[in-house]
Amino acid sequence: MKTLIIPVILLGTLVPALAPVDGPARWLLEGVLVLLVVASVTGWVLSRRVTSERGRKTVENMNVRIRAWWFMAAVFGLALFIGRIGTTVLFGLISFLALREFITLTPTRPGDHQTLFWVFFVITPLQYYLVGMEWYGLAIIMIPVYAFLFIPIRSALQGDVKEFLERTAKVQWGLMVCVYCVSHAPMLLSLEIPGYGGQNEKLLFWFVLVAQLSDVLQWIWGKSLGRHKIAPLVSPNKTWEGFVGGVLSATAIGAALWWATPFTPVQAGAMALAITLMGFGGGLVMSAIKRDRGVKDYGAVIEGHGGVIDRIDSLCFAAPVFFHLTRYWFAA
């Protein structure tokens, strides 16, 4: 029943939020809503039909994903409503939750405590503050340069040398993936693209849609046709059939939605291809880390917590690349 209740509640909040939106942005949102309704009903019907243990797990996994998409759709509906600053704050919260999962999973020592306090309560908010105030020059180097230098200094002051390089590397890596990379998504809102003024939230929406659809489509293609595993030790679910089918279909959808972007259909297809490839890479890398730490989902670190990283791993890797491609070729 949970499968249906959440969509109903979210639909109730999304529809009023949509009222002031019109044109292509509205078509995008409505398309997503229709897709989600279809997905939820399918998930609900399947959950009543399946009998085998394996089938039940697959359907449960699918329904968890569908609920996550509803949530993301609601967040985006809301973001369109509250504008650039609100969207930046939302991505900041996502980064915070993702970093929390990442560091929980990564062994640290008591000597890292003060450093981690800085990472969570100073560096992460500062990054999003810089994004929010549109100080591009500093937002783009704060974590790779200043945090990179600050973290080992702060940890060294604490005086614990055991596994020093590993520990500082892990903290820096978590910051880069969960905070720095993710913060490129709201940075899209500040790009000045000639002839596309005031429409950047559509670009962000398109980007997230392509990244998420690519995930979903790879999963669906893999479940239905998957035979040949790409890296069985890293992620048993990733198959060549799923990869090719997912990348091609997500690229095609991205190209077909070109009217929501500043791109031509061919450019939109090329961008979507870059997003799906990076997204695939992100999923693979984050699974490798999970396997190394012996867990299946980041959310399973502690039961009852949704794995934020499981949902955004592809977005983490795709966001900076998509941002820079767009900035280099299309921004003024």
Binding site: R100, T104, T108, P110, H113, Q114, F120, V301, I302, H305
Partner: protein, 200 residues
């Protein structure tokens, strides 16, 4: 009001919810005993209980810490309804176990940390004998092991700044004091029951 703020804060900072793997939440009389690694343990374990059980469950806490300042006293007495115990009794005749037995009464449950102090490493120390004496005096009360996970990383001993990692509270199956069981054996077994929940 203050209670709900604290419970919310505890969830926010520690992300901890109870995982009942060995028994269900129930208003019967129990002694929850847990490993102790952080000042957050009391708050987090108490907050992880269902709201209906919180007024029935009293944490046992050290008077030298929880009675030391007005805010701590307020939390201990007004919010948790804690049983404050002298770790180093001024009066040699004082009997902490008797105080705990009295606090149990006929409907209350207790939360105790049998190590008596917070461990620095996250690895539980030796259990002190209080749990054994309680088990002997009140054999009708269920002894429920609890494993507190990651709280030493969230707020370690000696730190006042929390780092918001995900903590965990795992609640296991009740144990009993066997007839004729030696004190040391029972305490080792109780410690084992807590540690056994680490991978549960």
């Amino acid at each position: 009001m203050m209670k709900w703020i604290l419970v919310g804060l505890s969830r926010l900072v520690s992300g901890a919810r109870a995982r009942w793997v060995g028994c269900e939440p129930h208003p019967r009389q129990r002694i929850y005993f847990a490993n102790h690694t952080s000042h957050l343990d009391t708050l987090v374990l108490w907050s992880a209980l269902p709201p209906s059980l919180r007024p029935l469950t009293r944490p046992v806490a050290a008077r030298d810490y929880w009675g030391a300042t007005a805010p701590r006293r307020y939390l201990a007495e007004r919010i948790f309804n804690a049983v404050l115990i002298d770790r180093v009794p001024a009066d040699p005749l004082a009997n902490p176990v008797a105080e705990m037995v009295q606090a149990l009464g006929d409907r209350q449950s207790l939360i105790i940390f049998p190590e008596g102090t917070r461990s620095l490493t996250g690895e539980p120390g030796i259990f002190k004998s209080g749990l054994y004496h309680l088990a002997r005096e009140r054999s009708d009360v269920e002894l429920v092991p609890v494993f507190m996970e990651n709280l030493n990383r969230i707020l370690p001993k000696g730190s006042i700044l929390p780092v918001p990692l995900l903590g965990g509270v795992t609640i296991g199956a009740p144990i009993r004091l066997d007839a004729g069981e030696e004190k040391a054996d029972f305490l080792a077994r109780a410690r084992g029951a807590v540690l056994g929940l680490r991978s549960a």
